[in-house]
């Protein structure tokens, strides 16, 4: 059946900069904020924006993500017509190939999009934390008559060189695009969220595929090609919280932002709910000896120790006398009595034994360059007496390394 707008969610990236956390799963499946996974944000944004047809492009270690998305019921994307579809690369009569780039991933699924005969296609990333009304962006796209609308936000000038920067004219039409410019001409950064008029995008994807020199990437190829050919491209200014959680530091930051009033990331805000698949577990018990402050605690936990400035996910156990500060604890972790966890990301189902310690506060480091958050991959067991130093990563096979 015909849909006005279909969303294509890019979820195939390896997420190599999340290192041990994405050893066995795609980046969008990484837990976030105690009860959610990263992909809940774009999926919930789709639901809240009235988009009921979503293709999720997967490639790298998709099992966890596939089973998490399932039939899409938690996001009300289990629809009679439309709904959520997992789109892995597939074999056709002429052969098969992996998704070579973001544009190629959509190119290989032109047939999927065509099923719904949409006028517009939203291309979204599976690794951003933000709440955004795509229907408002679509309205802007339609009003400006653009072939492509790119969501942008103002960033501090000093940081502009880390982003894809858009220069715009008085009507917010994009005049120039520069990927990580040394001398930025604007401070409007692309958020990697696009709405295209499908007829146009379809044509550019086919042309891009025919160009063997192309990297088949939206930012590097499609957007510059459209700009060169003088298509109307509009910048949609977004104000609000947005973070690309592609690195361990940004993932930790975004979790901490959740605890910070005024950061803009308020998950208790009921006007734009984030949905996620729930786990069956009883409410959280905060024991008589517990000391909890400035922390988000999900259900199913048993907290008997100290938890300060931390995000504690579903089914976590913190034993008596244990201390957890400035950390992100992912679901099912056990922090035994007396264990110490400071400035760390602890992966799912880790066990930190009594007498072990993970991470250290920045003030304890003699050399600031050698300080950073410590990270445990899912299922890591830290034995009694073992110390995982700041800025160190450890996986469940005890392969450790100090992050660059």
């Amino acid at each position: 059946m015909k849909k006005e707008c279909v969303a294509m969610l890019l979820a195939g990236g390896q997420g190599s900069r999340l290192y041990v956390l994405t050893g066995d799963m795609a980046k969008p499946a990484v837990p976030f904020g105690g009860k959610f996974r990263i992909i809940d944000f774009p999926l919930s944004n789709c639901t809240n924006s009235g988009i009921d047809t979503v293709g999720v492009l997967t490639q790298y270690r998709p099992l966890e993500l596939n089973s998490y998305i399932g039939n899409g019921q938690p996001w009300e994307l289990d629809r009679v017509d439309g709904g959520v579809h997992i789109l892995p690369p597939y074999q056709s009569a002429t052969g098969a190939s992996w998704y070579k780039g973001t544009a190629n991933a959509i190119y290989q699924n032109i047939g999927f999009v065509d099923l719904y005969e949409p006028e517009y296609v939203a291309v979204l990333s599976g690794d951003h934390i933000y709440k955004m009304d795509y229907s408002d962006m679509l309205r802007c796209h339609k009003e400006s008559g653009a072939a492509c609308t790119i969501s942008v936000m103002e960033v501090p000038w000093s940081e502009a060189k880390r982003f894809g920067i858009m220069s715009v004219d008085g009507a917010d039409h994009v005049t120039e695009f520069a990927e990580k410019p040394k001398e930025p001409k604007s401070n409007l950064a692309s958020m990697g969220i696009y709405i295209f008029t499908w007829d146009k995008l379809r044509q550019y994807l086919i042309e891009d595929e025919a160009d063997s020199a192309s990297e088949n990437d939206f930012g590097k190829n499609i957007i510059p090609a459209m700009l060169r050919r003088g298509e109307v491209m509009t910048a949609y200014r977004f104000e609000g919280y947005w973070k690309d959680v592609g690195t361990l530091d940004s993932l930790w930051d975004a979790n901490m932002d959740m605890l910070l009033p005024g950061s803009g990331l308020n998950l208790l805000d009921k006007s734009w709910p984030i949905y996620g698949r729930s786990t069956v577990c009883p409410p959280t018990m905060i024991g008589p000896a517990a000391d909890v402050g400035n922390s988000a605690i999900a259900k199913g936990c048993i907290i008997d120790g100290e938890v300060k400035n931390s995000v504690v996910s579903i089914g976590t156990v913190v034993g008596e006398g244990a201390s957890v500060t400035y950390s992100v604890i992912m679901p099912g972790a056990v922090i035994e009595p007396g264990a110490q966890v400071h400035y760390a990301i602890v992966g799912e189902n880790c066990r930190i034994s009594s007498g072990a310690s993970v991470g250290a506060p920045p003030e304890s480091a003699s050399d600031p360059d050698r300080w950073g958050i410590a990270v445990l991959g899912p299922g890591t067991v830290v034995a009694s007496g073992q110390q995982v130093a700041a800025k160190t990563m450890l996986d469940r096979h005890q392969n450790g390394e100090v992050r660059a």
Binding site: G33, G34, P74, P282, P283, T284, I286, V292, N294, K299
Partner: protein, 370 residues
Amino acid sequence: MNGMHGIIFSYEKKTGLRELIEHRVHGSIPFGGDYRVVDFMLSNMVNAGITDVGVIMHGKCQSMLDHLGSGKSWDLSRRKGGLKLLPAFAYTEHREGAGQFRGKMEALGCVKDYLSHIRQDYVVLCDSDLVINLPLDDVLSEHLRTGADITAVCTSHLGDSSDTYFKLDDAGRIVDTVRDVHTPVGYRCLNIYVMSTELLLRLVEDCMAHNEYSFRGAVLQKRGATLRIGGYVWDGYAARINTIQTYFQRSMELLRPEMRGELFCPSRPIIGKVNDAPSSYIDPTGECVNSLIADGCDIQGTVKNCILFRGVQVEKGAEVQNCILFKGTTVKSGAILRNVITDKYVTIKENGTLMGHESYPLVIARNSEV
């Protein structure tokens, strides 16, 4: 033998639950921070592999209907079988529009058409006001092993005289059923019965033909001598919610780890309705100790020895002790609460003080502003 069918009786009862049943039946009273009372028996059924459940309801069933919905949360939204809601209109015709039944057998007689379509060979009957984590598959195994006609679940923990009591012989057979005795003795009936579907249909027909309506009177007592009725003794956590005092006391017991261990044992999880609330947040100025908290709470004040349901807000400077706060309760800054139960969406205004007593907790009705 092709499994068991579940039947839950959800009806109004005259009990001492005051404000808590103003808008709802016993089964839909919130319990344990994240559940309704009916979730416990429903989960017991699901955990025992039961796929078809009928809920017989009358009275203030709106909140129960909202809660159960299609049964999706319990994986009971099935193409065949699954959750079937059997509301009052199913038997108004039979009782000439009265819409009430006098006892379980009469209620069953009114849904006889439904009973005749049960696909399973065995049925379990139970009430919706019992908080228990019972291995029903084990009850069925025991039923099959002993060859009893009916197996009734009972406990050696005695209650009050209004309960039903069994006298068991050495072989575990129930030899006498009594009620309203001055001094309770024997085993207290938990109103959970397992029998074959075929026997149930036969009993329902026989009782209807004789204008008999009570399961206890007509079946356990009158036919007790001709039927072989066995007792299955369960001495784990089992709370019948029938007064404010028992509600408060049995809820507060969940703050003890051993009680939680029994009721929320991981091998038989209790399943509640799926919700979308985010994690609870505890502010730097907040203090929360010895409390059970659901998702979506915002704690900026002091919370001690409490059970907080979803989305409770405790503002800065508020002090809440020994309280049970239902979903959406807001305690404004400076308010002080002790031994209080607040129903859904209650607001306690700034600097208010509300004190109940442990033996007589104060109950604030739904949507009140105090």
